[in-house]
Symmetry: C2
Subunit: 490 residues, 2 copies
């Protein structure tokens, strides 16, 4: 048999939602094939192995086979396969791809990665690719390029004005997320005019299925679904078809605010206005699913005391990202150690006190983290408007008191039975009570105060709350125990 | 002036994305008006105050004014105002509302709340309302009603078959999220036929802007955007307009899986198939933003050791939701206490050892929580397919070693200088090192093991990881210190 036998592969979906690659081939390197296995636990094919196969094929100069295999994947998967490859082979592959395929791949990548792939493109096609990209993706890529390269690319672009209108806004603002308002129609027109406008705009727009209705000053006054336009008589006036717009955002609005609004009002897309109230862009709700996930991740990581991190981050990046809170935490644990040192002579007399230190510290930590997590998440989801923050604080304080009572009783009884000293048991119970109350009050009030002073509530982090509970718990437990023990010994 | 002067209010949006209520009125109860203030920090009007005003108006039998004020809000806000009212007044208000307004309100509410509002509706309109609701919302409400009531309501419905086709699936599965496939066209037809089909389906469908293309066996073969249909010539055959479907899910797929797929492939909507591969429903991407947020919240709460909780939960509900992990944590802190007790005689000889117990415990806790959070979140976002889990474990173990080395050195030096005993300093450094390594290994491996045995990785929770780090840290620190101190004393 010939070494270059036909490769037959395809991507398929089966009912239990699982993507795999079937390759039937005769003489093709067995090991490479063997490496493409479907991992059952995640139900997706391991694309890094597909990448290995393509690398293999390219190195054996089986370019056509490599290209065929590559072409069988969805753009999202193509992008993932491509970024797993060495830079030289990325270049070999890219120069054989069609513009449309490159456009699709770049549209799915993170801006910084897309920019690095873009800079690999041959000069003969890079401007064409940039022209074909939607304005928001092109803008993101140009923002991520070195300034000289971005300027050079902009000079050659066909619709540089679209990009220039977006590039001034920060990446994480409404302005950075929006597309230019391609689909608009004046309120004085008819459905027929709207359909014509849509036809003209058709190439530039991506998948936005809403048309904004504007007044003579380009201010949004309503919206229309494209379905309504398609089904209406051409002579129907726009105002009889349109619905009112519940809300718009300003170009400077934070991306998290945009998510909250789209979610709350269940919008397909969100109009973005400039300070004069004119429509300057549109945010598609689909683009906000990523934003919502990223914001949720960010808050989770902040509560855990680290910056946002991807599982494939380098060791040095992870080290740097986690060091700040580890070092801060070290300082706070030494502060707690300082509190204990105040009572060293008491512990020397009754070493059994040391036994219960982790009980005091551990319980306050978890109670505080529960309250903190609820408060931070509720603020993020916009569930604590107006005076509800104060209500939550009261709720958490009450809960702290109740948790403190039952947990205090339990530890007092266990400790008394354990060491046969009800007085120490009582002291431990009181410390536990104080600890849980502080946990509730501090866990709720720190994020609320941070919001009040317009800081990110999530930076409060479990580290800060635990410091309070540790110090108060140790002071109460060892302080009261010292009084008893020193009284007893005098 | 007359007591019933005209109320002039409206909802407005200003550029910095802020919703408020303007009420201009003359003789209307000053205090009620005063209560409607816009909270600047959250940029939304406090709807519970609007609710108070409406309650006031209804109690003064100014029903018309109450209704006018209520009508000025968006359905989402109407729903929030309504649920803040006492049940009797909810009933008074509901019986004056139009069917369309009630339909909109029910569509925005959580199923259980919607069901409780639905059961308040007068018999004269409740079936009409149910008929007008989209099939997925009606299904959710019926699922939340007592079975007798649900059956009675179903018997009277016009399109009971739509609901019956959905009600068999669990709420959190693809089947529970989907709408029946209203917008479909056979691959053998033309754009004109598709447009006609759309016109017929128009009332039943909500906002789905995609039409699925099916074969003769109702299996999905492609999709079309409604824009494409609207702009195409009526005679254009469907296959020249349609795009291939990258993926579909089975009716039994988990809702989190649906989120991952829609996000990964940037889909506007996701086809749902039965075991024979036939299209049985469609999930709209907008409906998944809520799901994504809810899943993220759930994971955050689980890591903090609590069940999902809303800030307005009752005290007794909060108490019950948080008690399990508080009690488990209590047991684990007593386990740690048991470890310390093993070394009580050593501590009696050198009480200074007790001072450093929180340093050992605290540092392992934060390191472990960092690793745990990264692992749980990466699994949830589908970023750890195949053997990447093992890579992450190796990464976290390496990081634990490196963190252990620098933090161990730092604490060894501080402790040596503080108490003037380099041997104890060294022991503390070694314990810190062991602690950080365990934090990395345990923090990564517990969620990965849970995934392997098909349990929810998030249930691992910080409590479990902290137990490991506490116990190992105390054993190392006190164990080594005992060896040194007992050797020195013999």
């Amino acid at each position: 048999m010939n070494h270059k036998t036909k490769l037959d592969y395809r991507m398929f979906c089966i009912s239990r939602n699982f993507i795999g690659v079937i390759m039937s081939e005769e003489n093709f390197s067995e090991t490479a094939l063997h490496n493409i296995s479907v991992s059952d636990s995640t139900k997706t094919v391991d694309l890094s192995k597909v990448s290995d196969v393509i690398i293999n094929l390219l190195e054996q100069e089986l370019n056509e086979n490599a290209l065929d295999l590559f072409a069988s994947f969805h753009p999202v998967d193509k992008a993932e396969i491509l970024i797993e490859m060495p830079r030289l082979l990325q270049y070999s592959l890219l120069k054989t791809l069609e513009v449309e395929s490159i456009r699709e791949i770049l549209s799915t990548l993170d801006p910084s990665v897309a920019a690095s792939i873009y800079s690999l493109l041959p000069e003969t096609i890079n401007t064409t690719v940039l022209n074909e990209l939607s304005a928001d993706v092109a803008t993101d890529i140009l923002r991520a390029l070195p300034e000289v390269d971005a300027q050079a690319a902009l000079d050659k672009m066909d619709h540089a004005e679209d990009v220039l209108s977006l590039i001034v806004y920060p990446d994480d603002s409404a302005g950075g997320l929006m597309l230019p308002p391609y689909n608009v129609v004046k309120a004085t027109r008819t459905a027929g005019v709207a359909l014509d406008a849509l036809r003209l705009a058709s190439e530039a727009t991506t998948d936005i299925n809403i048309m904004f209705v504007i007044d003579d000053n380009f201010r949004p006054v309503g919206y229309l679904s494209i379905k309504k336009i398609a089904l209406a008589r051409a002579s129907t006036p726009i105002p009889t078809l349109m619905k009112p717009i519940p809300i718009t955002v300003s170009v400077s609005a934070d991306q998290e605010e945009c998510v909250r609004i789209i979610e709350r009002y269940d919008l397909q897309c969100l109009g973005v206005t400039n300070p004069s109230g004119q429509l300057v862009g549109v945010i598609d709700s689909e683009d906000l699913l990523d934003v919502a996930e990223a914001e949720a991740s960010e808050d989770m990581f902040k509560i855990a005391g680290m910056s946002t991190e991807k599982p494939q981050a380098s060791i040095s990046k992870s080290l740097r990202g986690r060091a700040p809170w580890l070092v801060i935490n070290l300082a706070t644990t030494f502060a707690a150690a300082g509190i204990i040192q105040l009572f060293e002579s008491t512990i020397a007399k009754a070493a059994v006190l040391a036994v219960f230190l982790p009980v005091v510290a551990g319980q306050g930590g978890i109670g505080g983290t529960q309250t903190l997590t609820l408060t931070v998440r509720s603020i993020a989801l916009g569930e604590l408007p107006g005076n509800r923050g104060r209500k939550l604080l009261l709720h958490e304080a009450t809960l702290g008191i109740l948790n403190g009572i039952y947990l205090g009783l339990v530890v007092a009884i266990i400790c008394s039975l354990w060491i046969g000293n009800p007085l120490i048991g009582l002291v431990l119970g009181v410390a536990m009570f104080g600890n849980m109350v502080i946990a509730g009050v501090v866990g709720a009030s720190i994020p609320l105060i941070l919001r009040k002073i317009r800081q990110d509530p999530a930076i409060s982090s479990a580290v800060v709350v635990t410091t309070f509970t540790d110090i108060v718990g140790f002071l109460l437990f060892l302080g009261l125990a010292s009084l008893i023990i020193n009284n007893a010994s005098t």
